[in-house]
Amino acid sequence: MTWPAQIQLATDPVTPVQLALFAAASGDHNPLHLDPEAARTAGFDRPLVHGMLTMALAGRLFTRRLGPGCVRRLHARFSGVALVNDEIELTATLDRTEGDLAHYTLRGITGRGKEIVTGSAIVGAAP
């Protein structure tokens, strides 16, 4: 198996509908993600993208390229927040291989270049 040296995923601007769908799917109804007024009260211009949505995008980055079931470990440190209307750009960079597994480092930024996530992943062949 030859592992890609780099895998990228760039989204369109994240919409309020996506956050509402994610809230419905996950049961995370925190108003910071849904209510512009609650976001402003907390000091943000617009509602915040769920960190778990960003992490799920990181999962999709790998499954889109390597197939469902390829992700063995995913680690995310949420170093910043993305807001509604931000694009999200994720980059996975091959760090090393170990037997049948590949270790990647992860970094995510908004379209404006602000870091929102760092982390790592271990992937293997899809079962």
Binding site: L21, F22, A25, N30, G51, P68, H75, R77
Partner: protein, 149 residues
């Protein structure tokens, strides 16, 4: 100050089904367009026994068991001022639509940083399907404490 006696608190396992509608909403939210995740025929045509759940999907069923919001309420931490600092997922075996997942959560660690200005709460979650571990996740919640008046 979060009550340290809650370290080790473990929820009684409950069983949560992986529903096609929930997987589909999750996929719509993250822009996943591959129908293998919610269309059983597409999944079989691609060689899957059933529709595979996307990575980290299991976090989305935690609320049906014992949500992090409920956990914070138990710890008497107000939701405002709380951040999801870190998350890890270890996937041990694939989870599919139609599986029933036994979920249990445990408060693993509570510790302070910056002279008590920040408290970190680490919660482990186990997901078991038919008696074997399908996945394990670790969530780190950051609580920004108000300085004493």
């Amino acid at each position: 100050m979060i009550d340290r006696s809650r370290i080790g608190f473990t929820t009684a396992p409950t069983r949560v089904p992986v529903d096609a509608w929930r997987v589909k909403l999750f996929c719509q939210a993250i822009g996943e367009t591959d129908p293998v995740h919610w269309d059983a025929d597409a999944a079989r045509a691609a060689g899957h026994t059933a529709c595979p759940a996307p990575p980290t999907f299991l976090k989305a069923i935690e609320g049906e068991h014992f949500s992090s919001a409920a956990l914070l309420q138990m710890l008497q931490v107000p939701l405002a001022g709380v951040l999801h600092a870190e998350q890890q997922f270890d996937h041990h075996s694939p989870v599919h639509v139609g599986d029933v997942v036994e979920v249990s959560r445990r408060v693993d660690r509570i510790f302070d940083k910056k002279d008590g200005a920040l408290t970190f709460c680490v919660v482990d979650t186990d997901y078991r399907v038919e008696g074997r571990s399908a996945a394990r996740s670790t969530q780190t919640i950051l609580v920004r404490n108000k300085p004493p008046a």
